[in-house]
Each structure stands twice: as C-alpha cells, then as structure tokens.
C-alpha cells in the first residue's frame, strides 16, 4: 500500500466491490441452475462457508484462535431443532434468528473467559467449552435425545410459502440467501472503523490500547458477533437436514473448520467460503473414490497446500484474470488475495 494514502481512503478502497467478488457471487447464483443434482453438498458448502466465515471474523480480524467454535454451531443447531420439535417458533427464518441469538448469548458470556489469555489458553478454553456443552447435551438426553439425536424435527415452509423439498433446492437457495445477507453485514462491519480497530488490535494489542482503542470491549463484541454467525450456521444445518445430534458439538467439526481456513486463508472473508468449497469437494471426491482411505488423501492435500503455500497457489490461479485485467486497464483485481496472508 502507498504510505501517503489516508486511512479513510484505504478503508474506502477496500470496501469497494471488486469484479472478482461479483464473479464469485454470480457463480454462486449460477450453481443453483448448473449443479441441480448436487444441491445437498452445495447446501453443506453454504453453511460450512458461513460457519468458517464466523471463525474468520475472530481469527482473521481479531486474532482470537478457537478450537471449540462448534459450541456455538451446536447451540444454534439444537435451538433450531428444539424450536421445531416443540413447535415454539414454527417459521424457519424467525427460528433462525432465535437460534442465532441463543448462540450470541453464549458467545457474550464466554467471551470474557476467552479474551483473558494468550493464544494457547484460548485454544484450551474454547475447546473446553465445546466439550462441556457436548457432555451437557449428552447428559440431558431427555431434552436433547442424547447420542441418538433430537428426534422428530420437521421444518415448516419458509415464510409459510417454500417447503423444503427432497431434492434440497429450497434448502440450498435459503442457505445461499442467508449466507449472502450475513456476508454483506460482515463485509460492512470489517470495513468500518470498528473493523479497522480490530485489525489494529490483532497486529499489536498494546499499541492499539495506547491509541485509545478499548481492546477488551472490541474483542468481546467481535467474539459475540462471531458466535451469532456460528449459531446461524448451526441452525441452517438443522433446518436443512432436520437433524441435531451430538456430532454438532464434536471436536472434529471445530478442527475441520480450521482446516477450511487453512485452505482458504484468513482475514478477507472469502477465505472461509473458498475453503469450504474446496474442502467439501475434495472430501466428496475422495470419499466416493475410496470410501475406506479418503482421509489419507485429504491429509495429503492439506500437507501439500501448506508446503506449497497459499500465496503461491493463488498467484498461479489468479495469473490469467490478473493479466486480463491489466490489459483492460481496470483497477487491480486484488480483492481476493489482498491481505489473505496472516
């Protein structure tokens, strides 16, 4: 970046829509029509992307690491499930919000524990919270159904109009719309002064405090926001699959999420989305190719990604579009890779 640009200009520049972003969302919309036989995996990608975005909000923007993000996912999932089973909130979108709020409350309460320590203790605390919730859900099996999962979830049509179908079309479009709306919100937030202050905190908390940023309050706020996102992702999961079992809290889920961000990169919101696409597609390809040994191949790919380095791969992938853009004299199409390293 040029040193003589002002911060305001910088923020404004960042928040402008690059063409690569538009292409990304156009592709997402196109997927509805092109991959009409793969709605289920697309749905998974959509909620996984949202879930990864929620981790990116704290990891990529505020530098909080978490190994227990499934806690919020799980709370969202069970809330949505319980609301549907007991018919408390029938309408899915309303239930989605309630589930998100439930996760938000948990996020707010636990944020005070999480922001206290260094990275290592953050890992432990977040992991602990997720394990705790999992055990609670197991213990109170009269409410949650225990290991067997919540039984008898049936989700009403969205807004009373669109019923979830066997092919998963409605479910996918629903997830995609929610993802997009929440993405816009996240994009607005991270490009606001609030978002910039988070970056300052991530880079150097002491200096951030010295220039007058209320570090702890900001961290609590973003952690809570992230919990809301994760809760929504969990609720989407439950609403599209009509399932909620202990697996929603599992360590694997939190760990997978970190893998998604390893693949996609952090600190530019798209990392979670791209990571989710790549991760799920790889998983699907390998597991239908070799149902027994697919985990080996996934592992191998991850090792390769880390070895080669994401930056170098992007450079390879983005070479053509960049060249293309340079030739037609547009502004730099760097929104995808800009700031991707952190």
């Amino acid at each position: 970046m040029n040193a003589d640009r002002t911060v305001g200009e910088f923020a404004l520049n960042r928040s402008r829509w690059g063409w690569s972003e538009m292409v990304f969302w156009l592709l997402a919309v196109a997927s509805i029509f092109v991959f009409s036989d793969r709605y289920l995996i697309l749905t998974e990608i959509a909620w996984l992307g949202l879930f990864a975005m929620s981790l990116d909000l704290i990891l990529g923007y505020a530098g909080i690491v978490s190994l227990g993000h499934a806690a919020f996912f799980g709370v969202g999932a069970y809330t949505a499930g319980l609301l549907a089973v007991h018919g408390i909130v029938k309408e899915p979108i309303l239930a989605l919000l309630v589930a998100g709020l439930a996760a938000t409350v948990l996020g707010f309460v636990t944020s005070f524990l999480v922001i206290r320590g260094s990275e290592l203790s953050q890992l432990m605390v977040t992991l602990g919270i997720a394990l705790l919730l999992r055990e609670l859900a197991n213990k109170f099996s009269n409410i949650t159904g225990g290991f067997d999962g919540l039984q008898g979830i049936s989700i009403d049509p969205i807004l009373g109009l669109f019923a979830f179908d066997l092919f998963g079309k409605v479910g996918y479009i629903y997830c995609l719309v929610v993802l997009f709306v929440l993405f816009l919100l996240a994009r607005r937030i991270v490009n606001s002064p609030f978002g910039l202050s988070l970056r300052a905190i991530r880079n150097n908390p002491l200096r951030a405090a010295a220039v007058g940023i209320p570090v702890n309050r900001r961290l609590v706020a973003v952690y809570t926001l992230s919990a809301f996102y994760a809760g929504i992702a969990g609720a989407l999961f439950t609403q599209t699959t009509a399932l909620a079992s202990l697996d929603v809290f599992s360590f694997d889920r939190s760990a997978d999420l970190l893998l998604v961000l390893v693949i996609g990169g952090t600190g530019y919101l798209y990392g979670g989305l791209i990571g989710a696409v790549v991760f799920r597609i790889l998983q699907d390809l390998f597991s239908s190719w070799t149902p027994q040994f697919w985990q080996f191949w996934i592992g191998l790919v991850l090792v390769l990604i880390v070895l080669i380095g994401r930056e170098r791969m992007y450079r390879g992938v983005m070479w053509l579009p960049r060249n293309f853009a340079r030739r037609f004299g547009k502004t730099k199409p760097a929104a995808m890779s800009d700031g991707g390293a952190s």
Partner: protein, 393 residues
C-alpha cells in the same frame, strides 16, 4: 388424406411413442442399484468393513444378476455421523436413483435415513443397527441384523436360572445400550435377581477403567456388559488389567462384546464369558462352516455378526427380486420381503410380516478354546425369537 389413414397414422404414432416409453423404462430397470451406507472410517469402521466384505462375498458367490437384473452396489462412507448418512441417502436416492438403501452401522444413522425411505418409497435394509424402534420409523424399513431386546431378555432369564443373584451393569449410553439394559433388567429382576450397580459409559469414550473399578467394588456375581461391536476388545483388555477376571466376576451380556471379529485377540481373560446372541462363527451347521471358510479365504479373518447381517441383507434383496420377478419398486420389494424365510449361516431366520423385523434363534454361548482359538460355543438355543421390544406392545 382420408379419415381412415389419419386414424391409422395416429395409432402408429401412438404405438411408436408407447414403444419408446416402454423401451426407456426397460432400460432404466436393467440394473437394480443398492446404496450401501456404512461407516468405513472412524470408531465404527469395523462394522462397515465387515458388511462391505460380506456383501462382496455374497455377490461373488451368487453372481451379480438376479431375475434378469444386474445388481450394482454403491458403497458410501458415513463415518457413523447421522447428518452424513442423511445426505448420502438423499443423494443416492435423488441422483443415483438407487432402488434400495442398505447398511446403517449405528442406530442414529438408521433413524436419519428413515424419513427419506418413507418419502421416496425406497426400502431401507438395516444390516447392523439394533435398537427395537428402528423398524417403526418407516414402513419401508426391514432389518436383517438383530435387536438388543432379543438377546438381552434371554441372557436375563438365563442368569436367573443359573444361580446369578447380584449383577452390576455396564452399558454404552445410547439407544441400543439403553434397550439392552432395560430388557435385561426387566427379565432379571422379575426372576428375583438384583441389580447392585448400574453404570452407563459414554459411547465415544473408550476408557473403561474408572467404571470397572466401581464394578469391582460392588462385588456382584456377574457383570452385564453391552458395548457396541468394535469396542469389546478394548473392554476385555481393561477388564483383565483391573484384575476383574481373577475376582470371579463373570461377564454376561448380549453378544456384541464378544464379537467374533475381536474375540481371538482378547486373550484368556475372555474364557467363560456367557453371552446370548444370534451368531457365532462356531455355529455348527454346514452352511456356516462354508461361509466362515469362504470369508476367511477372501479376507483372512473371521466373520463377525455384522458380516452375517450384511450377508443376509443382500440375500434378502436377491430373494425379494426373484419373488417380484425383477420388479424393483419399493412397495413390491417390501411386500416380497415380508414373511421371507431362509437358512442363514446363523441358523433359520425369517422376516416378521407384521413388524418387518427379524425373527431368529438366539443362542446362549460360552467362550471356550477350540483348536487353540477362542470361540463362542453355543450350548442352548431359543428358537424363533421375535423382537420383545414390539411383542410387548
């Protein structure tokens, strides 16, 4: 053009059209697809592998065509996570147009697929999961494995008759474990037995040591154990480490803990354990001897009860197709499966026409050494046991 020629043309066109339809329909039905969803990775992987092996073995022995249809099995790994199961089942039904879904390593997986079976009218052949209520979740579910109630009630009665007065129980905390506990308790206490200690262990926590200490302190005559297939080896190892084998506390239970798959590796501490179950690799019938020999030859290991569930599951599909003459729609298949009777490696079995659940012999067995290997040797047979979980209602 006269009216006559016009009608003739119409008829011809109609016939041609009908012919095309018939042709495409016939083409679509050339193959019958079976979506086999089992855990091939994760903690329950041994279940999936046994079922997969058994299905492959059966198809090698019996060919892959039946009633003029080619059978195609599509194997999918759900790692025993129900949301995977559901997605895979849905994709198999919607994209691959499978005629049957089968497998289901654990109860939650079978539950997750049940609404899809109902909605899409696709038979769901449960080859492993053993909770009673599974078959009630959809009119398209058929089971070829067993229910925990079948074996647990019988071991309960057996314990009472054989002078066991005080029992401590250790069961995995999920639906099948709770079934096992409930049915055992009912029969055991009705006969005058006493439960002195009741411990539920988490399914995903294979460390039994702290629970075993409590068992030891309770000083029962025997301990009733249910852990799912695959965890028995670990359990017996810790049982021996804690010295419970020397304290005279016998292991009894449904046969899952003494899975043939792992039995031989458990060591002498397993000797004398009495379990009730539907299959032992030592079942003394010619059919079973051939089955065990063929399985050992193909995979270099002993088949366990999960393998038999898979073997009978695919047999049921074959026989149902023979009966319908190749008609592979859900309703015809289910109708054909109801009441089906055959001789399995485990003994004579049938599908209950009312509940679509399996009716089979339950054997009481004791672990003994035979030719230097550990086997569950059957010494008492209870014939044609229906699932008590349903007959009670």
């Amino acid at each position: 053009m006269s009216i006559r020629t016009k009608t003739l043309l119409q008829v011809a066109a109609g016939a041609a059209l009908a012919g095309t339809f018939a042709f495409t329909a016939a083409q679509a039905q050339e193959t019958v697809k079976i979506g086999l969803i089992v855990p091939m990775t994760g903690g329950q992987a041994s279940t999936g592998k046994q079922i997969d092996n058994a299905v492959k073995l059966y198809m090698q022995q019996h060919g892959d065509t039946v009633a003029g249809k080619k059978i195609e099995v599509i194997l999918k790994d759900d790692a025993a996570v129900p949301d995977n199961t559901k997605r895979l089942a849905q994709e198999l039904i919607v994209n691959d147009k499978v005629n049957i879904i089968a497998g289901f390593g654990v109860t939650p997986a079978a539950f997750a697929a049940a609404p899809l079976a109902t909605q899409a009218k696709v038979p769901e052949v449960v080859m492993a999961a053993g909770t009673s209520v599974i078959t009630e979740r959809s009119p398209y579910i058929v089971r070829t494995s067993f229910t925990l109630a079948q074996s647990s009630t019988i071991i309960g009665d057996w314990a009472v008759k054989n002078g066991i007065k005080k029992v401590a129980t250790l069961t995995s905390d999920y639906a099948p474990g709770n079934d096992a506990l409930q049915f055992f308790k009912e029969h055991f206490t009705a006969g005058g037995g006493q439960i002195v200690e009741e411990v539920k262990v988490p399914l995903s926590n294979p460390d039994f040591a702290p629970f075993l200490q409590r068992m030891k302190d309770a000083k029962p005559d025997a301990m009733f154990v249910f852990v799912p297939a695959g965890q028995g080896g670990n359990f017996m190892k810790q049982y021996a480490e804690r010295g419970l084998d020397k304290s005279g506390i016998k292991v009894i239970g449904p046969g899952d803990v003494m899975d043939d798959d792992l039995l031989n590796g458990m060591g002498d501490s397993a000797l004398g354990a009495v379990t009730a179950h539907m299959y032992s690799a030592a079942h003394p019938s010619q059919l079973n001897k051939d089955f065990v020999a063929a399985y050992k030859k193909a995979y270099n290991q002993r088949p366990g009860f999960m393998a038999v569930g898979g073997y009978d599951g695919i047999h049921l599909v074959y026989e149902a197709l023979k009966k319908t003459g190749g008609k592979a729609d859900g309703d015809s298949l289910i109708a054909a499966m109801k009441g089906m009777k055959w001789e399995s490696p485990r003994g004579p079995i049938s599908i209950d026409p009312e509940t679509r659940d399996i009716v089979q012999n339950i054997y009481v067995r004791k672990v003994e050494k035979k030719d230097g290997e550990l086997y569950n040797i059957e010494f008492a047979t209870f014939e044609a046991v229906k699932d008590p979980g349903k007959t009670k209602k």
